[in-house]
Every structure is written in structure tokens, then in C-alpha cells.
């Protein structure tokens, strides 16, 4: 069993291993950074630390949805680099059987998450590949 945090973005449910998760914050003032790619919402001041915030929707190439009260920023520690991920809603933390992970039947359909995991009897989540979040797609620039 392994513990996962589940969240939704654009009606997709994602699961990220809690090993990566530092904390979840809401209602934060985000400072935009000029000339950065559109999926970088900006930077926040988290108790003196400057952390970039990435918009999950835009990172996935979806439409932008203005942030609301429900919008959460999940702070992830990926290889000692902190990054905030703005997601629609955070669901819960649950222990899941990680042996039941199955690869996506559609190859290369999603670069950030390519494995599936059943989280409830009738629900599945995409497992977020945290390391690939920080990969810089230079061609896309």
C-alpha cells in the first residue's frame, strides 16, 4: 500500500504520491512573472520562500479557469525543488494498493500521467509523474 493525494483538474482525477507533497494552500496571492510561459501562474511567497506556481490546466493544454476559493495550490517537493501546482479541487489522501497500477492503454496520450489506479469501486485516477512536471519542453517554447 502506498499513500496518494487525489485531486481533480478539468474533470480528470489525478493521484500523486504523498512523498512529493509538502502541503496544500489556498487563497494565495500569486505574483505574475513577466515573460514566463503561460502555464506558470507566477510566484508566491510561502513564509519567505519564493516558489513558482504552475497551473495544472494550462500545463495540460486545457482552458484557463479563473482561480476561486476552491482552487488549491499543492506544494510539491520534486528533487529538492519546490513547486506549487494549482488544481481545481483537492479530494483526499488515501492508501492505495500500488501493485494494482496499470499502464494507460492509449500510449503517449498523456506525458504527465501514464498510469492508472483504481481509487474506489467505480473510479480511477491518473498517477501524476511528478518529475516530468519540471521537464522543460524546449520545442514547445
Amino acid at each position: 500500500m502506498k499513500s496518494y493525494l487525489t485531486f481533480t483538474t478539468d474533470n480528470l482525477t489525478f493521484a500523486v504520491a504523498t512523498d512529493y507533497v509538502v502541503e496544500i494552500i489556498t487563497n494565495y496571492q500569486i505574483r505574475t512573472v513577466p515573460k514566463s510561459p503561460n502555464f506558470i501562474s507566477g510566484i508566491i511567497n510561502l513564509r519567505g520562500q519564493i516558489i513558482p506556481v504552475m497551473d495544472m490546466r494550462l500545463r495540460l493544454g486545457k482552458d484557463f479557469l479563473p482561480y476561486t476559493e476552491a482552487t488549491c495550490i499543492v506544494i510539491l517537493d520534486i528533487d529538492n525543488e519546490l513547486i506549487g501546482l494549482a488544481v481545481d479541487t483537492v479530494l483526499q489522501v488515501q492508501d492505495l494498493d500500488d501493485t494494482a497500477v496499470s499502464p494507460l492503454p492509449t500510449p503517449k496520450s498523456e506525458e504527465l500521467a501514464n498510469q492508472l489506479l483504481t481509487i474506489a469501486t467505480d473510479k480511477v485516477a491518473l498517477i501524476l509523474d511528478a518529475a516530468s512536471l519540471l521537464e522543460v519542453d524546449t520545442q514547445g517554447e
Binding site: 505574483r31 513577466p34 515573460k35 514566463s36 506558470i40 525543488e81
Partner: protein
């Protein structure tokens, strides 16, 4: 494991650097005296011994070999005294030492840069060996002497390493180093463990032997040996049983006498100095920065709520005083005197004097001036270049000086001083000065002029020198004149936030001035707003701010806005357009112009409003954002404002290059 190696390497680099620097100074002063004093000889011997030992431990063979041979050389000198050398031999000795120091330094830099070391140091070591032979007047290779074993030390400890543990010789050597570290006097066999990998076999066959004067020493050593790794067995053999060894004892016995000596002065120095990694200091300074900001946030709360309380105000004032003090102390931790860099110039002047025959005197003023560590590292190369330029181009040949009727000794003066928030470093020479006519002609030839030649002021002409691809000397010399020079100096200095100014009086000499901010971590900033966003500009770059009307703006052929202010014309950079911000005023009359200057670029930045002036703690942008080249747009860092919001710190020079770069691409796309 990697971490262990890293700290080990860090310690090695630090130690070797200071040892080499010590030797550099020592050599310069010894050469002036024309001899090495007994103390100096001992110091060279000790430093080389340490370098040899630590290099061997980390397997930097080239460094170890050279240090080893110099150690041999000074062993001889210590035994026989400098008086045994003829004048000519002394000169040779100094040359040899300078050569060796250069090679050591070179290899050291390679270690630092993680480059492969030279495999072949034979050229230099052979030179040293030949020199030693010459001194001795015999043809005996020095090695054999060191290889002898001493039989006076009759308490023998026989050590066997684990079977197949590998690198037995190095393990043995590390053991030797550890024991020497304990201050024990002993000899060992085989002697050449640190240099000769083949000695591993001898160790495997016969064990590694240590010889001690007394039983108590041997027992003490065994305590250390017990705690060392990879040792299968050790055995203390009493005098009667000790193997009788051959040959003259004197040499090695002497070698070992030096070791306890080495430990004493070091221990004294270390009592009030500790080495701290820069990383930790940076963290400390970051926390202190946070405290300063948090303090101003907390103190502002009652005022915002309309509360008034005398005791609170009193405590707040006290807190402010303490945090200010804390900040000053934290900042001072990073400060180091510039003397280290200045001393290095001694060597350059000496070398150039030798090869150019100019007999230049170097005067150092204010070498105890303290600046931030990063800045010291940043000015070392530029200074070296400027000093070389001054001697090579600035100071005339002795004949030319005679002709010009200059009687005083050619001199280069290096000075450092503080002015509030800046450190000013000047390099002054009393040479021929700059020939403005020649500079202008050269610049014209190289196509560097952007306006008619007669429209250039003297200051502008001198700044032409710092354009890429400019070199006034007609020939390429060993020291300067390769066409890369002052432009690189300028770039380096600007990268640490400084500026370079050249002034010159023909016939009387030139002065190069570097103005560098004292520290990079805290700047005096001016907060400005564009739309809802706040940006911070370093006050050091701001000349003035003023309002302008639409009629003040002129446009050039490309449609670029230009403004006339105080009889000068400046390009107008609209921050909103450059950074493609969503909001912000567009009408010239609604906003404000800030006249800024970075290096020789001067322009006016158009923003909505000035908010106010404050000291800000510079925070680097998250490393992830560096992937997106936002630094190219002058976004150099960020800072947290009193209310907890973030302001982006702009680099005035970066904005200008982004601005000119933008224009160029626009022109290309229009064509």
C-alpha cells in the same frame, strides 16, 4: 559517500589554496631579499609536505609529484643552508620555484574545475631533480635517499591489510597521514607508498612496517591503527625481535622531526578562526533577511489598526535596533579583505618586470578593505587584466621614459576604499596615458564609431576602449593585446553589478576605476508600479525621475520614442510594452519617466508611478524559472515587500539589452 567526498574535496581545495597563496607571498618577499630565511625554508617545506599528503590521499598525482620534489629540494636547502648556493644558483632556484608554483596553481585550478589533471609532470620534476643534483654536485638520484629505512626506531609495528582490499599503498599512506596527524614521530617501510603503486605488493607480501622510538609511542599509534579500516592484523614487535634494517638513518629521521613542528603553529591559528561553508552563511543571511522583513510587517500592524501604545513602540524600536545589528553582523560574515587579490598582483608585476624589463613598482593601498566574498572572486580576473594592461601598454619602455624626461620610477598603484554602499578600486599608472587620437582612429578603422569622429568627447573616446574587439597595441604581446581585454573586464565587473571608468592624461598616466556595490544581498531599491504590479529598481542605477508631456517625445525613423532631457537625448523604454504586461498607463502624461544608467547605457524607463524607496533583500528567482530565460528581460530577482507581497527586481542593464535586442528582431522581421 559522495557527500563525504565533497566535503573532503572542499576542505582540500580550501587548504591547498591558502597554502599556495602563502607560498606566493613568501616567494615574492624572499626574492626581494635574494634568499630564503630559515623560517621561510621551513614553511615551504611544511606547506609542500601538507600539499603532498593531501593530494596523495585524494589521488591527485601531478600535484603530489611536484610537491614531493619541491619538498626534496627544500630538504636539501634546509640541511645545507642558503649560503651553500651561489648567486646564480639562487636565481635559478627562484625561477624554478616560480615555475613550480605556476604548475601547482594550474593543476589546482584543474582540480577545482573538475578537469583531468596532467598525467605528465616529468618535465618539471626532472628540472627540480637536476637542480638538486647540481647543488649536491653529484649524480645520485634523490629518491634513494628518501627510500632508506631508519633502524634507530626499533619498536616495530607490523600491519597486514585485509586480503584483496586493494590500493594497499594508499591505505598505508592514509594511515601514515593519520598517525602524523596525531603528532607521532615514526618512520615506515616501504618508504614510497605514496608514489609507487607497486609498493602494494611489498605490503601484501611482508606487511607494512612502522618504526617508533619508544614503546609508548608505538602503543599510542596502535590506538589509531585499531580504529582504521581494512586492517586485518597488527603486531607490536619488541626491539630484540625487530628486524635489523640497513643504511644511513639520518635522512628520514630528520624528515620526521618536521612533523610535530607543523602541528603547533596550525593549532594556534585555528583557535580563533573556523571555516564555514558559504552555503551555510547564505542560509543565515537569508533568514536574517526574513527577520528584517517580518519585523517591519509586525511593527506596522498596530498602526494599521489605529492602535497606539507607548510600550509597544518602545519595544518595537528596540527590536529594530537589534535586527539592524543582527543584519550588519550577518553581512559582515561574508566580508573578506581584498588583500588576497591584491597580493596576487605582486606576482604579475614581478613576472612582467622580468620579461619586459620595465622595473615597475607596485604600490598597494587599502588592501584591508573588506568586500563581499562573491565580489572578491569576481574582481580577481578583471584586476589582473587591468594591471597587465597598465604595465604592458601604459608604462613606457625605459628609453621612452628617459626621452620624455620622466625620472620617477614607473609605478602602478592599486587602491581600494569604501564609500557608503560601494567599494572603489582603482588602478593608476604613471605611464604614457591614452592617446585619444589613436583610439579614435583605431575605432574608426574597426568600424566601432556610431557618430562622426569629431563628435566624441574624451570620456566617450575612452569608453570605446571597452568595446568588444578593441586593442590599442599594434602587436600582440604575451600579456595583453589579443583583442579580448577590456570588454571582458567590463562584462565581468558588470556581472557583479559594478561599473568601469577609465580616465587618462596623456603623458601622465591613466586610471581605471571599478565601482562595485559592497554586497549583492541587500540593495537600496525604488519601488515602481506598472498596472497593479510592483517592480524594484536599484537606486544606484537611478539618476532622476521626471514627468514629461506628449510634446516632449520625439520619434526616430523607426518610430522609437526619444526624449530630450537636460540637453541630452535618451531612448524611452516602456516597461509595460517590453515585458508585455496586461495593465499600465499608455499616455506619457499619466506616467513618470525614470532616467536610469547602467554602464554607459543611459535611457528613460516609463512606468506608472513611483511608490517609494526601501532597502530590499534580494532573493534569487526559483531555479526552475531560469529555464525560461526571463533573466534576458532584466528580471534579475525578487524581493518580499513589507506586506508580504512579492516585487520583481529589475536589472537596468538587462532591460536595455532586452530593449535593443527586441528592436533588432523587430527590424529584421520588418525587412
Amino acid at each position: 559517500m559522495d557527500n563525504v567526498n565533497d566535503t573532503l574535496l572542499e576542505a582540500y581545495l580550501f587548504e591547498t589554496d591558502s597554502l599556495l597563496a602563502e607560498l606566493d607571498d613568501l616567494l615574492i618577499s624572499a626574492e626581494q631579499e635574494g634568499t630564503f630565511s630559515v623560517d621561510e625554508t621551513n614553511q615551504i617545506f611544511r606547506n609542500m609536505h601538507t600539499i603532498k599528503g593531501s593530494s596523495a590521499m585524494l589521488e591527485y598525482h601531478s600535484l603530489m609529484e611536484i610537491a614531493h620534489h619541491i619538498e626534496d629540494l627544500f630538504f636539501y636547502i634546509r640541511e645545507n643552508g642558503m649560503d651553500s648556493l651561489s648567486g646564480k644558483q639562487r636565481n635559478q632556484l627562484f625561477e624554478l620555484m616560480f615555475d613550480s608554483m605556476d604548475t601547482l596553481r594550474l593543476e589546482y585550478e584543474k582540480v577545482k574545475a573538475d578537469l583531468p589533471l596532467s598525467q605528465d609532470t616529468d618535465g618539471l620534476t626532472l628540472k627540480i631533480n637536476t637542480f638538486i643534483k647540481k647543488l649536491k654536485g653529484e649524480a645520485l638520484p634523490t629518491k634513494t635517499e628518501v627510500d632508506t629505512i631508519d633502524d634507530k626506531h626499533s619498536y616495530q609495528v607490523l600491519i597486514n591489510f585485509d586480503t584483496d582490499c586493494g590500493m594497499e599503498n594508499l591505505r598505508a599512506f592514509m594511515l601514515v597521514s593519520a598517525l602524523e596527524g596525531e603528532g607521532l614521530a615514526f618512520t615506515y617501510s616501504p618508504k614510497d607508498v605514496e608514489t609507487n603503486a607497486a609498493s602494494s605488493e611489498t605490503i601484501i607480501d611482508q606487511g607494512f612496517k612502522l618504526f617508533f622510538d619508544s614503546e609508548s609511542l608505538a602503543k599510542e599509534a596502535i590506538e589509531t591503527i585499531k580504529n582504521s579500516g581494512s586492517i586485518r592484523s597488527y603486531e607490536l614487535i619488541q626491539p630484540k625481535l625487530a628486524a635489523i634494517t640497513e643504511d644511513e638513518p639520518s635522512v628520514t629521521a630528520e624528515v620526521n622531526e618536521a612533523k610535530p613542528e607543523k602541528a603547533i603553529p596550525k593549532a594556534n591559528i585555528k583557535q580563533d578562526l573556523i571555516n564555514v561553508s558559504l552555503n551555510k552563511l547564505d542560509k543565515l543571511i537569508a533568514v536574517v533577511g526574513e527577520i528584517v522583513i517580518t519585523e517591519s510587517m509586525v511593527v506596522a500592524i498596530p498602526e494599521r489598526l489605529g492602535l497606539k501604545d507607548d510600550s509597544f513602540l518602545k519595544s518595537a524600536r528596540q527590536l529594530r535596533k537589534l535586527t539592524d545589528e543582527l543584519q550588519d553582523i550577518a553581512m559582515s560574515l561574508r566580508m573578506v579583505p581584498v588583500s588576497g587579490v591584491f597580493q596576487r598582483m605582486n606576482r604579475i608585476v614581478r613576472d612582467m618586470n622580468k620579461s619586459l624589463g620595465k622595473n615597475v613598482k607596485l604600490t598597494l593601498i587599502g588592501s584591508d578593505t573588506e568586500v563581499d566574498k562573491t565580489i572578491v572572486d569576481g574582481i580577481s580576473d578583471p584586476l589582473m587584466h587591468i594591471v597587465r594592461n597598465a604595465i604592458d601598454h601604459g608604462i613606457e619602455s625605459p628609453e621612452a621614459r628617459l626621452q620624455a624626461g620622466k625620472e620617477e620610477q614607473p609605478e602602478v598603484t592599486l587602491s581600494a576604499s569604501h564609500t557608503g554602499s560601494e567599494v572603489i578600486i582603482t588602478v593608476t599608472d604613471n605611464g604614457q596615458g591614452m592617446d585619444t587620437e589613436a583610439i579614435l582612429k583605431k575605432a574608426e578603422k574597426n568600424g566601432l564609431l556610431t557618430k562622426p569622429a569629431d563628435a566624441y568627447s574624451k570620456k566617450e573616446i575612452l569608453s570605446l576602449l571597452m568595446l568588444p574587439g578593441f586593442s590599442t597595441n599594434h602587436e600582440v604581446t604575451e600579456y595583453s593585446g589579443r583583442g579580448v581585454g577590456l570588454d571582458v573586464v567590463k562584462k565581468n565587473v558588470e556581472s557583479i553589478g559594478g561599473t568601469v571608468i577609465i580616465t587618462s592624461e596623456q603623458g601622465q598616466g591613466s586610471t581605471t576605476t571599478l565601482k562595485i556595490p559592497l554586497t549583492l544581498a541587500i540593495v537600496d531599491g525604488m519601488d515602481v508600479s506598472v498596472g497593479k504590479e510592483i517592480f524594484t529598481l536599484p537606486i544606484a542605477n537611478i539618476k532622476q525621475s521626471f514627468k514629461a508631456t506628449n510634446t516632449d517625445v520625439i520619434r526616430d525613423a523607426k518610430g522609437q520614442e526619444i526624449i530630450k532631457y537636460l540637453n541630452d537625448f535618451f531612448p524611452v523604454v516602456r516597461l509595460r510594452d517590453l515585458l508585455q504586461l496586461e495593465n499600465g498607463v499608455t499616455d506619457m502624461e499619466d506616467g513618470i519617466l525614470i532616467w536610469v544608467e547602467s554602464g554607459e547605457h543611459s535611457y528613460c524607463l516609463f512606468v506608472d508611478n513611483l511608490i517609494g524607496e526601501q532597502q530590499v533583500v534580494v532573493k534569487p528567482l526559483p531555479t526552475y524559472l531560469n529555464n525560461f530565460r526571463i533573466k534576458d528581460y532584466g528580471i534579475s530577482g525578487c524581493t518580499i515587500l513589507g506586506d508580504g507581497s512579492i516585487s520583481i527586481i529589475l536589472d537596468v542593464g538587462g532591460i536595455y539589452s532586452a530593449f535593443t535586442g527586441d528592436q533588432n528582431t523587430r527590424n529584421i522581421s520588418e525587412v
